[in-house]
């Protein structure tokens, strides 16, 4: 990832710029500026489009109909059955072409502009970006096929595959390379994701939700990481951390945030995502069957699956197989776990710059050094979360306004992540994965960590949902 933090045991200490220079020149800061501008524009557009009598409507306790003016101007390919063209255009049904062009133009403008200020050639970037964006479109179309969607095979996987097919056959064309900007896309996408991390969601299930999602999850995350280091002696601490986070928190999104926070290698992020998706597909089919076979209640089964299956969509799908109550509990527990992503990214980034990189260089960094090394985009991620959580809680009709804003920004966030995974695919070789399979340590780590997760989550779910809060939860889901 970025090399602004080279190890300090070098004889010649690299010359460091001032904070102001950093703010103008580094990708981390540009991710924050771009994310902030997109969120601010989306918010202002929604706010200006509110009906003139909205405050009276809210005061009267009536719902306010809010829709974003950007609706239709930002889009991505949708689902399809047998004809991939219908994912983009279907007469009388769907036309996302203007939305895709809108997403292309916005992405090109913000990243091209940022790179131009950072001293890169914007024209070369623009030419390459056309190619990378087309590959991202292809990845979205592949991911939109009904059967692929049904089995939770997310676009990240296909974006990686599309990039890797190109790089491992004809090689990444030189003209694409100026637009292969994995870190820039990921960091900007994460700042946008911050607006979706709303802290009031944390309270949705009260004490039972916090018990399952916020007590068990950190214990499993830390235990799995410690197990990987102390018992398995994993060579790569960052791979150890990314697998621990995606397995214990919420799959691909947690993997992306953690990998960026601990500066994991691209191959490590890709490998961790592949591992997580593989187990997610297995667990979303097996867990409902096991829960039925054991005669567990829907509430207990839902809480267990919500706390253990990695991917958010797969949790809802597995919950739906059990019934409405299981779906409601599973999806809510997973949502509460989703919110943990901000704390995880911040905690991992802090731990990495204060402890892990200290060990590598042998010198404990002082406060200035920690600030210098800290991945600044994490601050943007946390700030976006704090601002939108406050707007959500404090503004009249804040829930509806924030939801309308997020409907637009999540589309761009999806494109940025998709572009990032295409870029990763364009940069790595199939052979790079072989080293992670040697000895099977990552697989052992995942299986052991997930086993602990299954046991602890079941115990906590039983205690909270079947013993202490049984009547309350039954009342909630009836």
């Amino acid at each position: 990832m970025p090399d602004e933090t080279q190890s300090t045991d070098e004889v010649i200490t690299p010359k460091r710029g001032s904070l102001w220079t950093d703010m103008r020149r580094s990708e981390d800061w540009w991710a924050i500026w771009i994310g902030a501008v997109i969120l601010a524009v989306a918010f202002l557009l929604v706010y200006r489009s509110l009906p003139s009598d909205w405050s009276q409507t809210v005061a009267a306790g009536e719902p306010v109909k809010i829709s974003s003016p950007l609706k239709g101007w930002l889009g991505k390919p949708g689902g399809w059955k047998s004809n991939p063209i219908t994912s983009i255009y279907e007469a009388g049904e769907r036309n996302v072409l203007p939305g895709m062009v809108g997403a292309f133009c916005v992405s090109l403008a913000v990243f091209g502009g940022g790179l131009a200020v950072m001293g890169h050639n914007p024209l070369k970037f623009a030419i390459g970006f056309i190619g990378v964006f087309c590959l991202a479109v292809l990845a979205y179309v592949l991911a939109g096929q009904d059967v692929i969607k049904y089995y939770n095979l997310e676009y990240a996987l296909w974006a990686l595959a599309v990039g890797m097919i190109i790089s491992n056959t004809i090689g990444t064309p030189a003209v694409f390379k100026p637009a292969v900007r994995t870190e820039f896309y990921i960091k900007t996408g994460l700042v946008l994701l911050g607006a979706e991390v709303l802290f009031s969601r944390l309270l949705a299930l009260g004490a039972p939700g916090i018990g399952v999602a916020w007590l068990v999850t950190p214990v499993v995350l830390i235990s799995t990481y410690a197990f990987g280091q102390a018992v398995l002696k994993m060579e790569s601490k960052s791979l150890n951390m990314v697998i621990s986070a995606d397995m214990s928190v919420c799959g691909v999104s947690a993997a992306i945030a953690t990998a960026a926070a601990c500066r994991a290698k691209k191959e490590e992020l890709s490998f961790a995502i592949g591992l997580s998706l593989t187990f997610t597909v297995i667990m979303m089919a097996v867990m409902p069957a096991v829960i039925k076979a054991l005669g567990m209640s829907q509430v207990l089964g839902g809480a267990w699956m919500g706390g253990t299956i990695d991917s958010t969509g797969a949790v809802a799908a597995a919950g739906g197989l059990l019934g409405e109550q299981a779906l409601e509990v599973a999806a809510t527990v997973k949502m509460i776990q989703n919110i943990l992503i901000g704390v995880t990214a911040f905690g991992v980034a802090t731990y990495w710059v204060t402890c892990v990189e200290k060990t590598d260089s042998g010198i404990r960094p002082d406060a200035r050094e920690i600030w210098y090394r800290f991945p600044k985009f994490v601050l943007g991620f946390v700030a976006a979360s704090a601002v939108f959580s406050t707007l959500y809680a404090m503004l009249p009709a804040g829930q509806d306004i924030v939801s309308a804003v997020v409907k637009d920004t999540k589309t761009l966030r999806g494109w940025f992540f998709c572009l990032a995974f295409v870029s990763i695919g364009l940069e790595i070789n199939f052979r790079d994965f072989a080293q992670y399979l040697k000895g099977g340590k990552p697989l052992i780590l995942y299986v052991c960590g997930q086993s602990l997760n299954l046991i602890l989550t079941l115990a906590m779910s039983w205690l909270m949902f079947e013993v202490i809060f049984k009547d309350t939860v039954q009342e909630l889901v009836k």
């Binding site: 009904d146 004809i170 997973k334």
Partner: protein, 99 residues
């Protein structure tokens, strides 16, 4: 003058062979992807059991490929019910005796 004439080097035939082989491999990969996505998957999706399961999920607003809760349509209804319950029973999910 003779220096400006491009000469073939021993690496050139090998590079051309690699390039041709790369193009063949890309064509093969594209063919496999097309076969799976345009043939196998649509056929699998047309089987009665899978089709009804896919439709049932779509009707309920469940997208199994959602990466974050904001991508799940079904969350809107769940959260609306949840808000109503917490409004009516503000302490119920914090103190079991308060319901």
């Amino acid at each position: 003058m003779s220096e400006s004439i491009p000469r073939s080097t021993p690496e050139q035939p090998r590079a051309e062979a690699d390039s041709a082989s790369g193009r063949y491999r890309l064509a093969a990969a594209v063919a496999v992807v097309a076969l799976i996505w345009l043939g196998v998957l649509p056929a699998a999706g047309n089987s009665a059991s899978l089709r009804s399961a896919i439709e049932a999920r779509r009707e309920r607003g469940i997208d199994a490929s959602a990466m974050f809760y904001t991508e799940l349509e079904v969350m809107d209804d769940i959260l609306a019910r949840n808000r109503q319950f917490r409004r009516d029973n503000p302490d119920a999910l914090w103190s079991p005796a308060s319901l």
